[in-house]
């Protein structure tokens, strides 16, 4: 796509793009290049020089059981976050869509938790499940269940999943409701006249017509779970216990800043870069078909 009418000039447009070029060059391309460069070296024990190791960092990482475990953790975590938050959001959107009056009120009430930062969501859920003072953990204790996410890896995973999914319900609800409201009512009524009950209508008509929205949300939520949940993990578990909630992004931070292992951290950045790249391509391929750029 090109504009037919354009202005003349050479220096003016260059001047206009200059701020963006400078900022992206300094704070984006240079650091990204550095990450790739550093991933090929390891520092000597005294941090005085760098030794070229080629793909050594990558070989080491892929053979490292902790890194492989972090891959599995990330996969489990992202799938759970995506399924839980999309499931609840779809359920609420289907209900809100059935209302003739009042769906706007529910929408207003449901969207604002979008504004709650992941790190704040983490603190709220940590408070509810705190082993000493948490309300939910106290009532669980009353029921005879001894909740302790500080020691139990599965409970820790459950907690970070719920806290991350909770913050995401608003977003998914908004898109699902818009998707549902875009389905022509006449189609659904025709099926109702033919005697299809609610569940049949949902399975055979509504859900297939909703699939573009669902697919879009799948990709967006996986990206969210990969990158934007750092705050939740850091506030609730700091990756523990025994790394059971150390997702890939958390590991880049833990190895690079806490462990000061720059070569490995950089190599991990590059691996993440490839993953984001793939996800972005999937997203764009799909969006090309749906929205005209």
């Amino acid at each position: 796509m090109e504009k037919r009418v354009t202005f003349k000039g050479l220096w003016l447009p260059l001047l206009l793009v200059l701020p963006q070029i400078v900022i992206t060059a300094v704070f984006f391309f240079y650091p990204a290049g550095q990450a790739i460069w550093q991933s090929l070296f390891i520092p000597d024990p005294f941090g005085l020089s760098m030794k070229y190791v080629g793909l050594g960092n990558f070989e080491y990482l892929l053979g490292n059981p902790y890194y492989r475990a972090s891959f599995v953790t990330t996969a489990v975590f992202s799938i759970l976050v995506t399924v839980v938050s999309m499931g609840i959001a779809l359920y609420l959107a289907v209900l809100a869509d059935r209302l003739i009056k009042g769906s706007g009120v529910y929408r207003t009430l449901l969207i604002w938790p979008y504004a709650v930062a992941p790190a704040v969501a983490g603190v709220l859920w940590l408070f509810m499940f705190n082993t000493r003072v948490g309300v939910v953990s106290w009532y669980l204790g009353l029921l005879g269940y001894d909740w302790n996410h500080v020691l139990n890896g599965e409970e820790a995973m459950g907690l970070v999943v719920v806290a991350s999914a909770w913050g995401r319900i608003s977003y998914n609800f908004l898109f699902f409701l818009a998707g549902l409201q875009a389905i022509p009512k006449s189609v659904i009524e025709a099926a109702a006249i033919d005697g299809a009950r609610f569940w049949t209508r949902f399975r055979t008509i509504v859900f297939p017509l909703l699939s573009p929205t669902t697919f879009f949300l799948l990709v967006v939520n996986i990206v969210y779970a990969f990158f934007e949940t750092f705050g939740v993990i850091h506030t609730i578990t700091s990756g523990g216990p025994q790394q059971s909630t150390t997702i890939l992004v958390y590991k880049v931070y833990a190895d690079g800043f806490v462990g000061q292992d720059l070569g490995s951290s950089a190599a991990q950045s590059v691996i993440l870069l490839v993953i984001v790249g793939l996800l972005t391509i999937v997203q764009f391929k799909f969006i090309e078909r749906r929205v005209h750029y």
Binding site: K3, L12, Q38, L99, A115, V135, I188, E189, V276
Partner: protein, 284 residues
């Protein structure tokens, strides 16, 4: 929208079940926030003796005053100022540089235009979380640790907004630019008097999204603000937890959590229409 009463909407018993289902969902969404609100109005003793009360207490002013004025490491009022500067800086900064560069790539033919376009396209792919270590080194090299520019610049180095404005400018009728040219208007006059006013809604919608994005940043401020007086509120909450066996000061921490939510929630609720539009636009 359901603009007529069709036969598939529920009435009577079914209608009540629908409302009930939604209310259960609302309770799930609201409960954590309600609990934080309650905790911010009671005393530490109330919380340390579980189960804590589920209705607000009488220590609202006391807890919030303590948080805002003295906080734990730094006054929360100060952290909120830092967050506000960061969020506004990111929103304004990104919108300004993106408007200018989108104007240039849509309305001019200049050498390197295609290359530039693809370079900024690449930036869409890499969130700051992925390149933290080298970006940290760059910022440290410039002496920008513990500074507002260090908080802001690395987060505006992406081109999502440029794409959005480019897309919008492409839909502006060619006749407008033609008329401006015939009337002898300079490119910048066209930009200021015609293009900017036309982009008002897009700018506002994007502003809402970027403000929330900036306010809610966590990892980046955590890395570069080692001085408590430069902490932002969202990252500052975690710093309020004691590292040893001491007990956390829950009423103050929860008051801070509520304070951290207020500005972005006001923006979302107050500008709901723009917010939804911004959300839909920025995901394209």
């Amino acid at each position: 929208m359901a603009d007529h009463s069709g036969m598939v909407e529920k009435r009577g018993f079914g209608l009540w079940m629908t409302h009930l289902g939604l209310i259960i969902g609302l309770l799930f969404v609201f409960f954590p926030i309600w609990l934080a609100l309650v905790a911010s109005t009671v005393t530490q003793a109330d919380i340390m003796d579980p189960p804590m009360p589920l209705l607000p207490g009488e220590h609202f002013f006391e807890n919030y005053r303590k948080a805002l004025v003295s906080g734990i490491n730094a006054p929360v009022a100060w952290m909120m100022v830092n967050s506000m500067i960061m969020a506004l800086g990111i929103a304004f900064g990104k919108i300004v540089i993106s408007l200018l560069s989108a104007f240039a790539i849509v309305y001019f033919r200049f050498p390197g235009r295609r290359t530039f376009f693809w370079l900024i396209f690449l930036t869409l792919m890499l969130p700051v979380e992925v390149r933290i270590v080298p970006t940290y080194e760059v910022v440290a090299g410039f002496g920008m640790l513990n500074s507002y520019s260090g908080l802001i610049f690395p987060l505006i180095a992406s081109a999502t907004a440029t794409f959005l404005f480019r897309q919008f400018f492409m839909t502006v009728p060619d006749e407008l630019a033609e008329a401006a040219r015939v009337d002898g208007a300079s490119p910048m006059q066209f930009f200021r008097d015609i293009l900017l006013p036309m982009s008002r809604t897009n700018i506002a919608a994007l502003f809402v999204i970027l403000f929330i994005y900036g306010w809610n940043q966590y990892l980046w401020p955590l890395l570069i603000t080692t001085d408590p007086s430069m902490n932002t509120i969202v990252m500052g909450i975690k710093q309020m937890f004691p590292s040893g066996d001491d007990f956390a000061d829950w009423p103050v921490i929860m008051a801070t959590s509520i304070l951290a939510m207020i500005p972005p929630v006001i923006v979302v609720v107050g500008m709901q229409r723009l917010f939804i539009r911004g959300l839909v636009d920025s995901e394209k």
